[in-house]
């Protein structure tokens, strides 16, 4: 029989744990309550696939921003994923312990840099470089992809490295004992075996990329139009909220919450996919 004191402690902890969950529930309910009316009024098809965003005239179409978010995220994946995977292979398989002990905290530090600093760096260096060497306004999908590609590195590297290190030791011993070279072992055995972990890592990284706001506001140019090349400026779902929330009211404000709903759903789908893939293992 548990004593009263013990029971009480247990309850208190349960209550505190529940409070974190309730915050999630509260936010979810809140944005849905605030955002649903405008979606209902405009119609879900016209809202999601509408090409024109002009709140003052009553046009609420967010398709260009969905394209913006998706293109910047794909760009970030193209920039970041190969670097991240090579880096984690190096850390998990090649790096001597001493080097690894320097690399690992350094990469974690990348995650600790505030996103506004990334944005600032992007505006001062990446954007002018693109304008100078590739043309266009500089503020562009490419600039956003580079910045986000760097920002998602820590997420992908740490999860990929963990899933490589979590493989049974006998995989590696067994393969090397069969006369495979280290690279053959990695390519033909370790990477396929860690596939689900790596895919989950990439998806979580992309979830971070699509949700990022501050850094992309600063480097994307924020024009609400369908881009024609990676050198064109775009606006993403997040930056749409970030830019306009300060002065929006009424239907306009509701439309921003509705943008949030769309973002929320996309990120939920990404995270659920990542969870599903990791669990299937």
């Amino acid at each position: 029989m548990k004593s009263f004191k013990e029971k009480l402690t247990e309850r208190v902890f349960l209550l505190i744990a529940l409070s974190t969950l309730s915050v999630l529930a509260l936010i979810t309910v809140f944005i849905f309550i605030k955002g649903m009316p405008i979606i209902a009024k405009v119609g879900i098809i016209d809202f999601v696939f509408g090409m024109k965003w002009a709140p003052s005239q009553g046009y609420y179409g967010i398709f260009p921003m969905i394209v913006g978010s998706v293109s910047v995220t794909i760009g970030a994946a193209i920039v970041g994923v190969p670097i991240a995977i090579c880096c984690s292979i190096f850390l998990a398989e090649f790096a001597p312990v001493k080097l690894r002990n320097i690399f690992r905290p350094a990469i974690q530090l990348l995650a600790a840099i505030p996103s506004v600093v990334y944005g600032f760096w992007g505006v001062l260096f990446v954007v002018p470089a693109i304008r100078k060497y590739l043309g266009g306004p500089g503020l562009s999908i490419l600039a956003g992809s580079i910045i986000l590609g760097i920002m998602i590195l820590p997420t992908i590297i740490s999860i990929t490295e963990v899933s490589l290190l979590a493989l049974p030791r006998h995989y590696k011993d067994g393969a090397l004992a069969l006369g495979l070279t280290q690279w053959q072992t990695i390519r033909s055995l370790l990477l396929p075996a860690a596939k689900s972990g790596i895919v989950a890592a990439v998806i979580l990284g992309l979830g971070r990329a699509i949700g990022e706001t501050m850094a992309v506001i600063m480097v994307l140019g924020n024009a609400v139009a369908l881009p024609h090349s990676v050198l064109d400026p775009v606006r993403t779902l997040t930056t749409n909220i970030g830019i306009e929330m300060g002065y929006a009211s009424g239907e306009h404000q509701q439309a921003l919450f509705a943008t949030g709903i769309v973002l929320f759903v996309i990120i939920m789908i990404l995270n659920a996919t990542a969870q599903y893939i990791t669990r299937k293992r």
Binding site: V97, H170, Y171, K172, D173, G174, A175, L176, A177, L178, G179, L180, T181, Q184, S188, L189, P192, A193
Partner: protein, 253 residues
């Protein structure tokens, strides 16, 4: 020793950081025979086997002194290709180590990475290797199923087949039957006795009895020292060293 020595270990010392795991070991391993290296856990037997194909290189903080001559050539020489050495000296571990792929792919992994491409060659390789390890009849109809679905005994025979597929010269087996039932053990022992016609086999048996059943020669190790070696019958019937006798009669271990 009448039989030619395949491997000649001369003055081998092995250290793991400050700890000496193998002390001044001299041992000849005869060709086309089964050598059983036995002793209590922690005697350095696994380390000795892992040193013979330089898997010990993978252990951080390990270093060795002395020579191991394979066909008269020192395997620690700087110009030795370690990958090639491991193809000549194959290893089977104490727990079955099926790799996460099909039975077929497990067997051909080594040859394929070594450059064998032709499908018929690979198929032939799979059949001969699995026949030699007495697994062919069990699995010939389901070569494309994942290796992890086999029973423990089958997995271990698959690991032996995988090593055989490399056409090695020496096969090292580190307590290969410690996780197996008696029937699987008997099958593996039977294949080993047949395999010695073509290969040199070094086995760390999981019991003294197993050494008695299959080994032509035995070596007894204790705390990193080689205490005694000789023909199995002689060592088992008339051990020269008191410690060997005590271990064999179960006074310690």
């Amino acid at each position: 020793m009448t039989q030619k020595a395949k491997i000649d270990i001369k003055g081998l010392n092995f250290f793991f950081e400050q700890k000496q795991v193998i002390k001044e070991l001299n041992l000849e391993i005869p060709e086309n025979r089964i050598l059983g290296v036995f002793g209590p856990a922690g005697s350095g037997i696994t380390t000795l086997l892992r040193t013979l194909n330089r898997l010990s290189d993978l252990t951080a903080g390990a270093r060795q002194e002395g020579e191991i001559l394979l066909d008269g050539k020192n395997i620690f020489d700087t110009n030795v290709n370690v990958t090639e050495l491991r193809r000549r000296v194959g290893m089977v571990f104490d727990v079955p180590t099926p790799l996460p792929m099909s039975i077929f792919d497990n067997v051909v992994l080594g040859p394929r990475m070594g450059g064998m491409k032709s499908k018929t060659d690979l198929e032939e390789k799979v059949e001969t290797s699995l026949r030699m390890s007495a697994l062919w009849d069990d699995v010939k109809d389901r070569l494309d199923t994942p290796a992890a679905r086999l029973s423990g005994g089958q997995q271990q025979r698959l690991c032996i087949a995988r090593v055989l597929a490399l056409e090695p010269e020496v096969i090292l087996l580190d307590r290969p039957c410690s996780a197996l039932d008696p029937i699987s053990t008997a099958k593996i022992e039977e294949s080993l006795v047949q395999l010695k016609e073509q290969y040199t086999i070094v086995i760390a048996p999981h019991t003294v009895q197993q050494a008695g059943r299959i080994a032509d020669r035995v070596a007894f190790m204790l705390m990193g020292d080689l205490i005694e070696q000789g023909y199995t019958q002689e060592v088992f019937s008339f051990p020269k060293d008191k410690r060997t006798n005590d271990y064999l009669t179960g006074r310690f271990g």
